[in-house]
């Protein structure tokens, strides 16, 4: 069985992440719009900047964190590397590098998606159009996943795509939950108030998990049940735990099928994270400080990405092949 180029493995890993990131950005902007509208008149768009750690680069734009400015910053600002336009632009560039591997349909969809984003006007970003725009972005990202599932040849590129998407989704879900905590619980007294419940409700809907949650918890809607659901429930496909498991399973299968047995550090990290999440209880997470706990997961996911890069992307080192020079090869146009 032929292996794929290391560069291509890295490109498709990042391609999947960039699309998933845009999917999540659209979800976060969408719920934040809902929250800021409901939260007693205060339109707190800075919370989105905080949750991505973008306060400083936003300040450098010289704009005040109004709804318009923040929405523009996260959707159309080509100087913000995490804006949807930038992410999909990079995904498209990666797709261009991957054209020999991916299906034409995958390429055409990303290319059209990117062309559409480039054609957006200011009016399309106005708050009254935001929900529609976020839906468009979300659906386009899901279309990418669907076309990929239906058309991508199941060689190594499929596994790297799935691993990338799962890691990004795990990371993004931690941020989605975090936004709730930063925005919704300014004071402990807000807990349990009617407005609070409506907002937890919105959070679950934005992750497309409301009905599944209700089926599991018909009676209650507490921070602990919602956090438990979004972070720890292995049956909810957007949860952190489920995503970590998906990444782990695909990595495992990749090793089995393609004989990547020499180094296992990535698998060790992923298995450890999966085990921690399996043993964790939502109440303990909250008691220890949810924000820090979520931060910790993000750091772990970063370590997984680094290990993956060392193992598969930077150089191809195996015992039975000559060692390549350590000095050649620029990095790919990836992350």
């Amino acid at each position: 069985m032929n292996s794929i180029l290391s560069r291509h493995a890295e490109c498709i890993f990042w391609l999947a992440r960039q699309v998933e990131r845009s999917n999540s950005t659209a979800r976060i902007l969408d719920i934040n719009e809902t929250f800021s509208r409901n939260a007693r008149g205060e339109h707190d768009w800075e919370s989105v900047l905080r949750l991505y750690g973008d306060e400083k680069i936003f300040r450098d734009t010289g704009r005040r964190p109004t709804a318009d400015a923040v929405i523009h910053f996260y959707i159309l600002d080509d100087k913000n590397p995490n804006s949807v336009l930038s992410s999909i632009g990079m995904a498209r560039e990666n797709a261009r590098a991957l054209r020999p591997l991916i299906s034409t349909e995958m390429w055409v969809q990303l290319n059209s998606f990117h062309n559409h984003l480039r054609g957006l006007r200011k009016a399309d970003l106005r708050i009254e159009n935001l929900n529609r725009l976020c839906s468009y972005i979300k659906e386009s990202c899901q279309t990418h996943s669907g076309i990929t599932a239906e058309t991508l040849y199941r060689d190594e590129s499929w596994y790297f795509h799935q691993i990338g998407r799962a890691i990004e989704r795990a990371d993004q879900t931690t941020r989605l939950v975090d936004v709730k905590y930063q925005v919704l619980l300014p004071q402990p007294s807000d807990v349990g108030s009617p407005i609070d419940e409506a907002q937890w409700n919105t959070l679950l809907r934005s992750a497309a998990g409301f009905h599944a949650f209700r089926r599991n918890y018909p009676q209650t809607m507490s921070p602990s049940t919602v956090v438990g659901f979004l972070v720890l429930d292995r049956r909810f496909p957007r949860s952190v735990a489920a995503s970590v498991l998906v990444a782990n399973e695909h990595l495992h299968e990749l090793r089995l099928k393609y004989g990547h047995t020499a180094r296992r550090s990535t698998s060790n990290l992923l298995r450890r994270l999966a085990a921690t999440l399996a043993e964790e209880a939502a109440d303990d997470l909250i008691a220890r400080g949810l924000h820090d706990a979520l931060d910790g997961i993000q750091v772990e996911l970063g370590a997984v990405t680094d290990a993956l890069g060392r193992e598969f992307f930077l150089l191809s080192e195996t015992d039975d092949a000559p060692q390549p020079e350590s000095s050649d090869g620029q990095r790919s146009p990836a992350g």
Binding site: N2, S3, I4, L5, S6, R7, A9, E93, R96, A97, R99, P100, T104, W107, V108, N111, S112, N115, E156, Y258, G259, H260, F312, L315, S316, E317, T318, D320, A321, P322, P324, E325, D328, G329, Q330, P333
Partner: protein, 483 residues
């Protein structure tokens, strides 16, 4: 043949005295295009435009584009596609095919001779300084054997049709000719947008190009082990022909690699994969000689692979095209190709050159000086910098200046009459009008030479223009070779 007169879309079409690819000329009708003519004539302009627009939109979404980079952003442009096809009769194609095979064969014999015995130079057929002093002459190739002695494995020959209805070679492209992806994509587009136009006509297929190409390239590595590994080496996504590299890699089913994906160990070439280093046997390279290996050529090249020439010289990897083929497609050498064909093959050129006067030869110089107002004067080799003189458009001072230069350094120039390129009906803002076209067939050579039936028809979209280059307002057409 009963004479047929258009009564619809083509009623007012007037080729303006040029040979027309669809209507022929007064004394040379083109009976083979009758069905196509009738069908186009039956369409409305609005319908044609609607389908053309849909086709261009599809090209854009498919990313069949070349990329122009500016400081601020990248702009993807499609090569404008004109929906009215250019149609070649079976007999016409047969001549072109034989002519291209003959030409490629002779060029390969020439290159082999130059890097070995240099008989043709000693026999005084081609001036030695023209070849050995050429910037594209690669001394590194001296004495190196290449598979079947075939250096030019992929060749594009630029052909024009004159007012007499005959085909002439304008230029050879023996280094890294591009454009074949458009040949195939244009066909796919026509099949989707104009199934009614093509029905039951019997157009020869172009869709197996990738398969033929990889077959021929594999043949080149016959000695290197079993199931040779072929790759396509591209400068990367920033190259304007990147789409074509992707297209070809996909059609061939081989990895598309960049220089940074390859590494040379013990004079062997490997690519870096997730599973370790994997051996590479044949490289279809779309990078110029200069950038191929910083160790052997331009030391500043970031695109190439250090040590590649060592591996090549050791016989551990095949490069297609071989290094050093640029000596055969130079403007100065072009003038000698009919003699090169005679020298090696003892045949007359099936496809003549455009009449060319070699100014380093006394007769050529005298003729050029006497007819300067009617001729195009071109600098040869790397001696350029003075540009081209187009006699009919030049002022008195420019003509005088060129006379002086021609007398001072005649060896730097060749001259040709202005070729009246044939025209083809083309969709324009003001309806269907004649526009000038050329033709670039593609020949693939492993053990033997195969020519893709058709080729790239480039069309000068500006009224009256003879310049078909995509950088200067050129577009392309689907090219039909009839069965």
């Amino acid at each position: 043949m009963t004479s047929w007169k258009p009564t619809g879309l083509l009623e007012d079409y007037e080729p303006g005295g040029f040979y027309c690819e669809l209507f022929g000329a007064a004394k040379m009708p083109a009976p083979h295009t009758r069905t196509v003519r009738e069908r186009i004539d039956g369409l409305s302009l609005a319908e044609l435009r609607r389908r053309a627009q849909a086709a261009e939109h599809e090209l854009f979404n498919l990313g069949v584009t070349f990329t122009v980079y500016t400081d601020r952003e990248q702009i993807d442009r499609i090569l404008p596609f004109d929906v009215i096809p250019r149609v070649l009769a079976a007999a016409e194609w047969e001549t072109i095919e034989r002519g291209v095979v003959q030409r490629v064969t002779a060029l390969n014999r020439f290159i082999e001779d130059i890097y070995h015995e240099q008989r043709i130079l000693r026999d005084g057929i081609v001036p030695a300084d023209l070849v050995l002093g050429n910037a594209n002459f690669r001394p590194q190739m001296t004495g190196l054997k290449v598979p079947f002695g075939n250096y030019v494995n992929i060749c594009g020959v630029d052909i024009v049709r004159g007012g007499d209805g005959r085909f002439y070679v304008l230029e050879d492209n023996a280094r890294t000719p591009s454009g074949v992806s458009y040949v195939v994509e244009n066909r796919h587009l026509t099949q989707r947008a104009f199934p009614d136009l093509m029905r039951n006509i019997g157009v020869r297929s172009v869709s197996n190009y990738g398969q033929r190409l990889v077959g021929q390239l594999t043949e080149l590595a016959a000695g290197i082990g079993n199931g040779p590994s072929v790759v396509l080496l591209s400068p990367g996504v920033y190259n304007s022909a990147y789409f074509e590299h992707v297209f070809l890699a996909r059609e061939m089913g081989v990895p598309l690699v960049e220089g940074r994906d390859l590494v040379v160990r013990d004079d062997r070439v490997f690519m870096k994969t997730t599973g370790g280093l994997a051996r590479v046997d044949v490289i279809y390279r779309r990078i110029d000689d200069d950038f191929l290996d910083p160790e052997a050529f331009n030391p500043a090249s970031m695109l190439g692979v250090r040590g590649l020439m060592r591996a090549y010289r050791a016989g551990n990897v095949v490069l297609a095209n071989a290094v050093g083929t640029g000596i055969s497609d130079d403007k100065a050498v072009y003038a000698y190709v009919p003699r090169i064909i005679r020298y090696y093959l003892d045949e007359e050129a099936i496809l003549p050159n455009v009449e060319t006067h070699i100014c380093r030869e006394r007769e050529g110089l005298e003729y050029t000086l006497q007819h300067l107002e009617e001729l195009v004067v071109k600098p040869v080799g790397e001696s350029g910098g003075y540009g081209i003189l187009i006699g009919p458009h030049a002022g008195r001072n420019a003509l005088a200046e060129f006379r002086r230069r021609l007398r001072a350094t005649p060896a730097n120039y060749i001259s040709q009459p202005v070729v009246q390129l044939s025209v083809c009906p083309t969709v324009t803002r003001s309806g269907i009008e004649p526009r000038h076209v050329d033709l670039r067939p593609f020949a693939v050579t492993g053990r033997s030479t195969w020519v893709l039936p058709g080729g790239l028809t480039r069309v000068a979209l500006r009224k009256g223009s003879l310049v078909v280059n995509s950088s200067q307002g050129g577009g392309s057409k689907d090219t039909w070779v009839l069965e």
